[in-house]
Amino acid sequence: MNWGEMALRLVVRGRDRDTISGDLLEEYREEILPKRGAIRAQLWYARQVVSFVHPVAWGLLIGAAAGTLQLLSTALDPLADDSGGVMLVIVASLLLLWMLASLGATTSSQRLRDVVISGIVIGAATMAVVHISSTLRVNLFLDQIQDRADWANLMARYRASDFHSLRAYANYEYLGSLPVLLALGAVAGGCCGALGGAIRRAAQPPQLTSK
């Protein structure tokens, strides 16, 4: 269970690391493992760890993964255009991850509002990190990516501007797009949370029955 312990220690605050991991270990050994068997017990432990992850941390994690992929793909092939199919897969994966993370961050909540808020936070945090990685990409690979077909419009705007440095202009444009990206992430994340919450609600049996 070392992997789980390590993950748990990353997501709980220092003061409670030993007490919480002790509580989970006790439950795991006394209740879960004897009743559910090794594999389902491991899944139970993973679910408990997930329940400690804050929505902001989910957003940062997803953003870091997406940003790393973006930087790696640019480093490998700076001039490769993003085809429609690839973009569709990326966006669909992002939306699915936002929905799952929203549900993971609100496992105990019965309220749709909590899942939506969680989705908003996750979406905005993801886009913030992706924006940092995009800005990093521009500054690291400016000489190569300025010849990309999808940079044609930016290059035209740069030539029409008063800027004397392409780097400065690209950073200026990227910075200007930050509020829109954050808003887009928040709205899309909120929608993913709402969808996930609605699916969870539909899948759960009703809590109260009345005649």
Partner: protein
């Protein structure tokens, strides 16, 4: 003015005041989680209960102390929780507010249609 309490906060504070299970009487993290699940009649994520305990401590509605560990816990200590006088006041306020809300209504509630 007493602190407004959410449903999970009330369940956790009630678990500290009136535990209904043997384990619940020990009032450490796992015991409180089991007690809350027993009271609510459903599974509750561990993270939600610990976050609630942390919040209640920050509001001064609960306090905690460290206790010794046991072999089944790998020797790790237990954190025992207790309700404070402010916590009791908030809990009583929450119950009074709920009673006012339901006053004059007989169960089961029937619709007008």
């Amino acid at each position: 003015m007493a602190e407004h309490l959410g449903a999970l906060e009330q369940a956790v504070l009630l678990a500290l005041v009136r535990p209904q299970t043997e384990l619940g009487k020990e009032a450490y993290g796992r015991a409180i989680l089991k007690e809350v699940e027993h009271r609510l009649g459903r599974d509750v994520a561990a993270g939600a209960v610990y976050a609630t305990l942390e919040r209640l401590e920050a509001k001064g509605l609960a306090s905690s102390r460290l206790g010794p560990g046991t072999p089944v816990r790998g020797g790790r200590p237990k954190r025992h929780y207790a309700i404070t006088s402010d916590g009791l006041r908030a809990l009583n306020h929450a119950k009074a507010a709920m009673d006012r809300l339901w006053s004059g209504i007989r169960l089961p509630v029937k619709g007008t249609s």
